[in-house]
């Protein structure tokens, strides 16, 4: 086991991710090891730490990029610490909480073997993904979070309409939890559904390193979904690796600022070789969450029939047959899949990728999981009921109350765009030349080198209020509790690099009522929705939850290169 704890470069700690000496002591103590002089022991993570990003061998390097590395220093967690002293991560465990229960979550370094490489990552309670929390609808649970990693962190309870002060957004609802400190969240869960939790500090690093977990809010309504043979959590992720292990992240600013950090190794529930075994005739309910930094997945199920039940904040109006699940970063979908024949079913990310060099699309299929169906036959209740598409009348009735507002003029017009400065001229030249056609979605990183070299110091992703011209954090819209607000979000195809954006609204729920003027036929409450390039999405937001909230792109690198705005919902007077 290589130990790196004697290396030193005399770097200035102040220039790195903020880490107080006292906090470092706590961290060191917490993981139960002794580093004689930890200040000297801080392993360098400067530019020598960069390794060339993996490239398609068929693509030549753009002239002028040979030997280039991102203009920020490289970060890998746990440098200076002997791997053997870091606890090995365990698979996620189910934690069932009742109203009023308290849970302790420790954020710490964990050790994982990924593709044969000993890898230091982050974990919630030492697990990957973090513990699966199961909470009844309308409950409040207390979560005490202790930060034992070297970066400040928070927990954002994604999609949950909880009290504003526990939303986990640093600088807006709380100060980030410094290394060695803790914070207590009270998580009130008014809606049934599939939610998740993750940091809101440098998500491009922390989430990518393993800080994510699901929270399932169990419905009070009986027979909320039809019967299934089993429920399976299905957390989709990818991570960028080369022959030496995971590629470092940008320390003071994100790399991959243009397209976000696409991984080249696919993971389900943190595993690179996920499998399932079931009997013939089983209906498997997949609780799907996309925790990737940037990748939108198109999940296919090997030809088995797929029924769509629910998304971010509850059920669709009607169940619907689908061929695949298109799931952007932070979105959730619940689907039932009937496996009615023995054999192997490959669950895959099935896309038409772009080869920018040849100007072509090409089919690409990446295995996410293999489901082995045995010859034994499962009880038939679930498979018989599977054939029926249910209408969720309570959802229809509730959404009907909002329908009179669908057709009205938008209250706010937002535009998504990007500004760059100081980028390598070779990248600018090539990308400018290649904007005659921009695909609606970026399914793969077709320019790995150019993307890697672009950092938060050169790229600013923008949400712009088209009426005032205000951008990003200049925006703080004011609403009153109970307002129904229609946003029109236009993803302009005319910018330096147009790209799809999964737009997330904190603390509220919304309906996607139309895309490019085509009305949605089957609605569902959402907290995150993809706006493809060139598209105009109309959403109706129910401003139900008072406080100061954020709206942002959930591509981690876009969020951390500017793409967020705020709005305040004033509490209705009693």
């Amino acid at each position: 086991m290589p130990s790196t704890d004697t290396a030193t470069d005399g770097r200035t700690p102040a220039a790195k991710i903020s880490m107080k000496c006292s906090a470092r002591s706590v961290l060191v103590a917490a993981i139960g090891i002794l580093i004689p002089s930890f200040l000297e022991a801080q392993q360098d993570t400067v530019r020598e730490g960069w390794r060339m990003v993996p490239m398609d061998p068929n693509m030549p390097m753009m002239p002028g990029l040979e030997g280039a590395v991102p203009g920020v220093s490289a970060f890998l967690p746990g440098l200076g610490i002997n791997f053997a002293t870091i606890a090995e991560a365990r698979p996620s465990e189910l934690v069932t909480l009742a109203d009023g229960d308290t849970l302790d979550i420790t954020v710490s370094l964990v050790r994982r073997e990924l593709q044969g490489h000993e890898t230091v990552m982050f974990g919630y309670n030492g697990q990957y993904p973090g513990p699966m929390l199961q909470v009844p609808e309308d409950a409040t649970v207390v979560v005490r979070v202790a930060n034992q990693i070297e970066m400040p962190t928070t927990i954002h309870w994604h999609g949950i309409r909880l009290e504003n002060q526990f939303d986990g957004v640093p600088g807006i609802t709380q100060a980030a939890i410094q290394s060695g400190d803790s914070f207590t969240y009270e998580v009130y869960v008014p809606d049934a559904g599939l939610f998740w939790y993750h940091p809101h500090v440098r998500e491009d690093v922390q989430q990518d390193l393993g800080l994510f977990g699901n929270m399932v809010v169990t419905p009070s309504e009986a027979d909320y979904y039809g019967p299934a043979s089993r429920e399976v959590a299905f957390v989709l992720d990818d991570i960028l690796m080369d022959d030496s292990g995971v590629l470092p992240w940008g320390e003071t600013a994100p790399t991959h600022a243009l397209m976000g950090r696409f991984g080249n190794v696919m993971m389900v529930n943190g595993e690179t070789d996920h499998t399932l075994t079931a009997q013939t005739g089983e209906v498997i309910r997949f609780l799907m969450t996309n925790v990737a930094n940037s990748r939108t997945f198109n999940v296919t199920f090997g030809g088995a029939p797929v029924k769509l039940l629910a998304s971010d904040v509850g059920r669709f109006e009607r169940e619907q047959w689908i061929e695949s699940v298109v799931i952007g970063p932070a979105e959730r979908y619940v689907v039932d899949v009937l496996f009615d024949q023995p054999g192997n079913f490959v669950i895959a990310n099935t896309i038409q990728a772009v080869n920018h060099f040849r100007g072509e699309f090409y089919p690409r299929v990446d295995t996410l999981s293999v489901v082995t169906i045995t010859d034994e036959r499962a009880p038939s209740v679930a498979s018989e009921r599977f054939q029926t598409l249910r209408t969720h009348q309570t959802v229809v009735d509730e959404i009907n109350q909002f329908r009179p507002h669908f057709g009205r003029t938008p209250d706010y017009d937002l535009e998504t765009t990007v500004r760059v400065q100081g980028l390598n001229p070779s990248i600018v030249l090539t990308m400018e030349a290649d904007t005659l056609f921009v695909p609606p979605m970026e399914w793969n990183d077709a320019m790995p080198m150019a993307n890697w070299l672009s950092t938060g110091e050169q790229v600013t992703w923008i949400l712009r209020d088209r009426r005032t011209g205000a951008e990003n954090q200049e925006i703080n819209w004011q609403f009153d509790q109970g307002d129904l607000v229609k946003f029109r979000i236009f993803n302009t195809p005319e910018s330096f690099h147009p790209m799809n954006h999964p737009i997330h609204i904190h603390g509220q729920r919304f309906l996607v009522i139309a895309l490019d003027g085509v009305q949605s036929q089957n609605l569902v409450w959402k907290d995150t929705a993809i706006v493809p390039v060139g598209s105009m999405m109309d959403v109706l937001v129910e401003m139900s939850n008072p406080g100061r909230w954020m709206l942002h792109c959930h591509i981690a690198e876009h969020l951390h290169t500017g793409m967020s705005l705020n709005f305040t919902v004033a509490e209705a007077s009693p």
């Binding site: 198109n298 061929e323 920018h356 089919p363 712009r464 895309l515 105009m536």
Partner: protein
């Protein structure tokens, strides 16, 4: 190459994007989005009487009823509603104008349908890059698998504008043959 890079250097230090009001890539309220952005023209071949001055266009739009922001086929291709319209032409006295889509390699052909008097058609298409071909067919046969008559119009999906760098541009020095182009 040096000249190009120098020009790009000037470019790269400027703001690129919307905040420059004089830039033609700036943001205005008339930027084409959605179906308009992906619209493409159909060009007459002048091979069919009455189409010498004709123009045409095709638009792709989100499939109605998709629960997702993009609709995809099982191989990950975009599924669009393709809407074709023709203008400034006389309907031929004999035969039927029939629309087809085909891949750039013309290894797959799909019949969209025959035009009637309003000269518009809508049908789903599940290819990312395709050519629209409109031909004059002697009979209106919905089961036909390829055209037999003369081509009156053709046009390529906007994705056909995707830039190929092999053998030119910043890859001038590359031999395009090694990437499958030329001999």
């Amino acid at each position: 190459m040096l000249f190009i890079l120098a020009a790009a250097a000037l470019f790269s230090s400027a703001e690129i994007g919307g905040s420059n009001p004089t830039s033609n890539i700036g943001l205005t309220n008339c930027v084409a989005g959605g179906p308009a952005y992906y619209r493409f023209r159909l060009f007459t071949t002048r091979n069919v009487p009455g189409t010498g001055l004709a123009t045409g266009s095709a638009e792709v739009s989100v499939i109605e009823g998709s629960p997702f922001s993009v609709s995809l086929s099982s191989d990950g291709s975009y599924v669009y509603d393709l809407q074709i319209s023709l203008e400034r032409m006389r309907i031929p006295a004999q035969g039927h104008l029939v629309a087809w889509v085909t891949t750039p390699e013309i290894d797959h052909i799909q019949r969209i349908g025959a035009f009637d008097a309003d000269l518009t058609l809508v049908a789903p298409v599940a290819w990312n890059k395709f050519i629209v071909v409109i031909t004059l067919e002697p009979i209106n046969d919905p089961t036909a698998t390829t055209w037999t008559g003369p081509i009156a119009f053709r046009g390529m999906s906007r994705s056909g504008l995707m830039h190929t760098m092999a053998g030119h541009g910043v890859f001038d020095q590359e031999n395009c043959a090694i990437y499958g182009y030329g001999n």
